[in-house]
């Protein structure tokens, strides 16, 4: 499903990723760990097409990211649900509008959008906050909204960059549990985090450890 062949990324003269080769199958739960500066976020950015200048090849469902046309980019991006450490919620939009944006961008009908957004809000226990603005919410609530936005389009791949980084342990566990639910439904999930302890106690999947831009170990977490 996702294949990386000798992917390298340079920032100036410094290599942030060095010859990363990786195969990720449909429905896998991948945990990318490593210290700060290991290249976790850089790897995710390449996967969710926020950074398209890199060496090597990345194939997603057989599509080569280096050769994909700009007109097909939005369609490919709709396969991803992305969760950021800093939530990246739009402050001028309500919780409902932040989530519905994904479906509006995909051209879904208003009635479908309303139904789907409310359904996702209920599943994260935020239906009463639909009209609230992000800055009036706590960090944990904002991250739940960010996760809701990531999953509302039912993406086949969910990419989360330090999704629990700024949360307390209870909120972090709630977020991971929620992501696990989507994993059970068949989504492929990639989480980049330095919090190996929390991950090991919460999720089951493959841990890929990065250090200084290289894969240093791969192991299965049970």
């Amino acid at each position: 499903m996702i294949r990386l062949f000798n992917v390298s990324k340079r920032f100036g003269g410094k290599l942030a990723l060095k010859n990363i080769s990786l195969d990720i199958e449909q429905g896998e739960f991948i945990f990318i760990s490593g210290p700060s500066g290991a290249g976790k976020s850089t790897l995710l950015k390449i996967l969710y097409l926020a950074d398209n200048i890199f060496e090597g090849q990345v194939l997603i469902d057989g599509m080569n990211l280096s050769r994909i046309s700009s007109s097909k980019l939005p369609v490919l991006r709709r396969r991803f649900g992305i969760v950021f450490q800093d939530f990246k919620l739009i402050p001028t939009l309500t919780v409902y509008e932040n989530i519905s944006l994904v479906l509006e961008a995909a051209g879904k009908k208003t009635s479908f959008i309303k139904k789907k957004v409310m359904q996702v809000l209920r599943s994260i226990g935020m239906e009463k906050k639909a009209k609230a603005f992000p800055l009036t919410l706590s960090g944990g609530e904002q991250q739940r909204v960010a996760v809701a936005r990531a999953v509302v389009g039912e993406p086949s791949i969910i990419l989360a960059d330090e999704p629990t980084g700024s949360l307390d342990s209870t909120s972090a566990r709630a977020i991971l549990d929620f992501l696990m639910e989507y994993h059970k439904k068949g989504s492929t999930i990639l989480i980049a985090s330095h919090d190996l302890h929390l991950m090991k106690n919460t999720i089951k999947g493959r841990n890929i450890e990065l250090n200084a831009g290289r894969i240093v170990s791969t192991d299965i977490m049970y």
Binding site: Y48, A50, P74, V75, L76, R77, R78, F80, I82, K88, I90, T92, L93, L101, V102, E104, A105, A106, T110, R149, G153
Partner: protein
């Protein structure tokens, strides 16, 4: 579409001051352009109605006698474009003059000889084309027995010179103000874009197409252009209502001068142009940003 409209209106609301400045700039530009158009439309009407609908007087030489009249009429008719032709003898002309001057005709009695020439009053068909009339007049004047032809060429020539000068100035001013409005609109859109950069970045990441991202900006540009046009015309209409009656009254004693506001067709054209201006400013800005 609903999303784009909502976003555009939200953005206009949240950047009220910036949008207001843009709308005022567009409206001022539209007002300047409209003033020229108002002048052109009215001046055009004055030219059209010059000399009471294309009447011209052909003055004949002293050696003219009525036996020559059929041949002269044929010659003039052969030049074409003549609607009516009435012969006015010098006796009839003097008689008319006496009637017109009424009590002030004593000096006319002292005349030993009728000083007025025989004349033909003609009505030209396509009198709206001044150059065509000039050519026709020259051809008539070239006939041996014709002494002179009078079709208001003196004042009309001067008026046309002034009209041409205004036209050139008008074009220059219109172009200048168009560029100012375009620059301001483009910059407003650019500022709106940067104030919503996070939103745009997120939209891209969630798979929004460029059209979906750009649409609210285009709507904003169209709204600015439209409101600017309406406001500019509204201001011009208000000014027109205040000053037009005064101008008409002060000129009424000299010439028949009917000042009218812009035609509906012209108003529609101006509003369409200003709306297009808003869109075009947006287009230029986004083209540069998305390059």
């Amino acid at each position: 579409m609903i999303h784009s409209l909502k976003r555009a209106l939200t953005d206009i609301r949240s950047n009220k001051f910036l949008n207001l400045i843009t709308i005022i700039t567009i409206s001022l530009s539209i007002m300047v352009v409209s003033v020229f158009l108002l002048f052109f439309e009215n001046a055009g009407r004055v030219i059209e109605s010059w000399n009471q609908g294309g009447r011209a007087m052909i003055y004949l030489k002293g050696e003219f006698n009525t036996d020559m009249l059929p041949q002269l009429k044929a010659k003039i008719n052969a030049l074409g474009d003549i609607d009516e032709m009435v012969y006015i003898s010098k006796a009839k002309a003097l008689d008319t003059l006496k009637k017109t001057l009424a009590s002030q005709t004593t000096f006319l009695k002292t005349l030993k000889k009728n000083p007025l020439p025989d004349a033909l009053e003609i009505k030209i068909k396509s009198y709206k084309n001044f150059q065509g009339v000039q050519t026709l007049a020259q051809n008539i004047k070239a006939i041996d027995i014709v002494d002179d032809i009078e079709y208001g060429q003196g004042w009309l020539g001067q008026f046309l010179k002034l009209f041409k000068l205004f036209k050139i100035t008008g074009y220059a001013m219109c172009g200048f103000f168009f560029l100012i409005a375009l620059f301001i609109t483009a910059n407003t859109v650019r500022l709106a874009f940067y104030s919503r950069k996070l939103e745009v970045d997120i939209m891209r990441l969630v798979g929004a197409t460029e059209i979906f991202i750009k649409a609210p900006f285009y709507i904003e540009g169209l709204v600015q252009g439209f409101l600017g046009g309406v406001l500019g015309l509204g201001a011009l209409l208000a000014t027109y209502l205040m000053v037009s009656s005064g101008i008409t009254q002060s000129l009424a004693s000299y010439v028949y001068f009917d000042i009218r506001f812009l035609s509906v067709k012209m108003v529609m054209l101006i509003i369409f142009s200003s709306t297009f201006l808003g869109w075009f400013g947006c287009y230029l800005s986004l083209k540069q940003i998305f390059k």
